[in-house]
Symmetry: C2
Subunit: 434 residues, 2 copies
Amino acid sequence: MNRWLIENATMITMDPAKPVLEGWLSVDGSKIAAMGAGSAPEEEKRQAGGTVNGDGLLFMPGLINTHGHAAMSLLRGLADDLKLQEWLENHMWPMEAKFTGDDVYWGTSLAAAEMILSGTTTFVDMYDHMDRVAEVVEQSGMRASLTRGVIGLCPPDVQTAKLNEAISFARDWHGKADGRIQTMMSPHAPYTCPPDYIERIVAAAHELGLPLHTHMSETAAEVAQNLKDYGVRPVEHLDRLGLFSRPSLVAHAVHLNDEEIAILAERGVAVSHNPVSNLKLASGVARVPELLRAGVAVSLGTDSAASNNNLDLFEEIRLAALLHKGVSGDPTAVPAAEALRMGTVYGAKSIGLDGVTGMLKPGMRADLIALDIRKPHFVPATDYMSHLVYSASGADVAHVWVDGKQLLKNRELLTLDAEKIRFEAQRAFGRLKG
Amino acid sequence: MNRWLIENATMITMDPAKPVLEGWLSVDGSKIAAMGAGSAPEEEKRQAGGTVNGDGLLFMPGLINTHGHAAMSLLRGLADDLKLQEWLENHMWPMEAKFTGDDVYWGTSLAAAEMILSGTTTFVDMYDHMDRVAEVVEQSGMRASLTRGVIGLCPPDVQTAKLNEAISFARDWHGKADGRIQTMMSPHAPYTCPPDYIERIVAAAHELGLPLHTHMSETAAEVAQNLKDYGVRPVEHLDRLGLFSRPSLVAHAVHLNDEEIAILAERGVAVSHNPVSNLKLASGVARVPELLRAGVAVSLGTDSAASNNNLDLFEEIRLAALLHKGVSGDPTAVPAAEALRMGTVYGAKSIGLDGVTGMLKPGMRADLIALDIRKPHFVPATDYMSHLVYSASGADVAHVWVDGKQLLKNRELLTLDAEKIRFEAQRAFGRLKG
C-alpha cells in the first residue's frame, strides 16, 4: 500500500503550529502526505490502500538518538560500578580489541532491535567496521548518521590508514539505503587525536561536504589535561583546529564554562546530552538549561549499552527533564515539551535532518511511532505530552514506521530476526569473553 | 494448588548467602518452602500440585515501595514543571479537597494495578479515607503498610477528630487481609503538625505498639523554617518529640547534615529515598551514600504519581544507582547490588518485615516476581543483577505472586479489573476536574 491512512489518532506532532492533534494522518510512500483534525476527508479514505485505527494509541515522531556505539551492546553488563580508567583499560578495551566485523554486525543488530522496540527511528553511530553497521541500517529499515571514529594515538602510517578508511566509508555510504544513511567525519576526541590529525580530518570533512562528530569535555580530568597540553580548554582548542567550521555535533559537553557555551552557540555547534552515561560514569551533570538558553541545539544520546545500560531514549528524555530540575533547584527547568523536543526536533537539527524527520508534518518523512496508552500509567488522560516524558517508557511503543515502512507491529520486529540476533549476540559475547 | 514448584529458574535471591541461584523453588501455601540448585528433588516434584517452567524468566523478590500516596494517581499529569507552592496550592490541594472515598478507592486501584504490573508487591501508603485504601489491598492481594497521615494545622477539636480517626484505622486494620496489611501512625510532617500534636501521635503509636512514618527535610526551605520556628533542625526536633522512640520511617530526608545522619543511624530510623520526586520537585539530591555508610536502612519510594509520574520502582532503583555516582563523582557509589537491596531487603527492614519479605529464602513469604529476559536489553547474559538495575524496567515483569498467590500472569492482572479501573479512574478525574 503506497498511500495509507491513520484514523482516530491522538498525535503529539512536535510542530509548534499544532502540537496536539486529534484526527487523521495520511502517508504517501516515504512521506507524510496530509494531516487534519477530526475525520479524514472522503478523498483521503478513497486514496488509502490501507487504514490503521489509532484508537488507544498515541502517535508521535520517531525518536532520534544522537550519540552511541551500537556494537558495544555486546558488552552490556560486562563491567559496572568501576572507576573510569579501570573500566576502560581492564574491561572495555581488551574486549573491543577483539571485535571482528561479525561482532560489530551482531552487536549493532542487537542495538537496532532494542532501539526499534523502544521507539528510536534514527541513530548516530560512531564506531569501527562501519560497513557492517551500515548493513544493519539497510536491513533494519532505520535511519542513521554513521561515522568511523578515529583515534590518532598511533604511528603516522596507521593514522593515515584510519583516515583513509573513514573517508572511504563516509563517501561510499552517504545517501545509501534509499537515502536513510548519511555519514560524518569523526576525530574520536581532542585527547585521543593530536591537533594536526584533527586538522586533517576537518579538511577531509570540508572536501566531502560532511558534518563532524566528536566526544568533547566529558570529564573534568579531560578538560584539565587539555589545558595542560594545549593551554586552552577543549572548546577553544577545537575551534582553533577548525572543527566548528563545518556543521558539528559534540557528545557529552559536561564541563563547560560560560565562554565555551557562548562559543558553541555562536558557531551553531550541536550538543548530544547523554545524561544516563554521564551519571553512570560519574562524569557529572551537563549545563543543559544554560545551553538551551543560549540557543544551542541540545539533543539526547544513550551512549553505548556498556555505560547506560539500555538504549531506551524515553529514559534519556525523562532524565533530561528530571535531572536539571533537581540539580539547579528550579522545578521549571527543562519542561516536558522541551525534553521531548530534545528527543525529536533538536535531534533532527543536530544532524542536518530538520524538515526531514523529528516532526509529524506533511512533506516530512513518515518516521513515526505509536504508543499503547491503554495502560494504567497513561491514566487519567490529562496531558499526553507530560505522560510521554514523565510516565512512558520504550516498552509502551507498539508500532514503528520509518520512511512510511513499518518496522514494528504490535511489538513484533518486522525487519529483524529477534531470535537469531539474541542467539548470535550471545554467541559473539561468549567468543569474545572466552 | 497449595504446594507448587518453579523449575529451571534463574533467581536473584537477595540472600547474601547465595545471591544468584540456578535451580528450583517450591512454595507451600503463602511461604517459600525450599530452594536448591539444579533439578528439583523427586520428593519436591511429587508434592507439587503444579509447576512453573522458569525458562526465559528471571526471578527475584517482589519490590517494596516505601513511600507514596496511591490515590493521587488520579492527578497524574494534571500539573508539572511548576514551582512547588504553585503546584500544591493551585493544583494539588484544590483537587484533593474534593476527593471522596470513592475517588480514593479508584485512584488507589489504579496505583495498585500499575504497581503490580511493574513488580511491586508491598507498598507504604499515607493518605486519607484509608479504609478504602485497605479495601484495595484486600482485593488486589498486595501487601501494604498503611497510615492515615494527619495534618495538624487546624482547631484542637479537628486535630483530635483526625487523630482518633487515624487511631481507629490503625487499630482496626492492623493484621487484616490475612496479615498482609499492617498499619502505622503518621504526623504528616514537622511543618504541618504543631509539636504537641506530634507528641500525642507518638503517644498513640506507643499505646498501639505501632511504627511511625512522616515526611522530613524534603526541602531546604522546610529545614530553614524549622530552625526559625523551633531553634533546631528537623531531625533534632523530631527526636526531642520522641518520634524516634518508636520504629520509624522518614520519607525524603534530602537536606541532612552529618550530625543528623549520625542521629538517624543511632536511633535506627529508616529513610525512604524518593529520587524521581525529589528531582522533579527540585528538592535536591539526598545524601544516600553517606546514609548507607552510616548504616541507615535506605529504601526507595515513588512518592505519588502526581510528582513522579509513574510508580515503576525499577526506575527508582536505577536512578538511585545512577544519580549518586554522577553527583558525587564516584562511579563506585551505590553499586548495582546495593541499589537492588534498597528496593527489596532494606525496604522490608524499613517497615519491620525483614525475614518476612524482600528475599527469596525458605520460610519467608512467597512474594516474588519473574521478568521476561528474552528481550534484547537482557542480552548478553553477563550479569543479571546489573541488568535488573541498569537495563530492566517494570514492563519486563511477566508474573507476580504475593503470599504464594499469583496476582499477575503473563502481564494479565488476575485480582483487579484493569478495564474497569481505567474507566472509573478517568471518570473520577473528570468529576474532580469538572
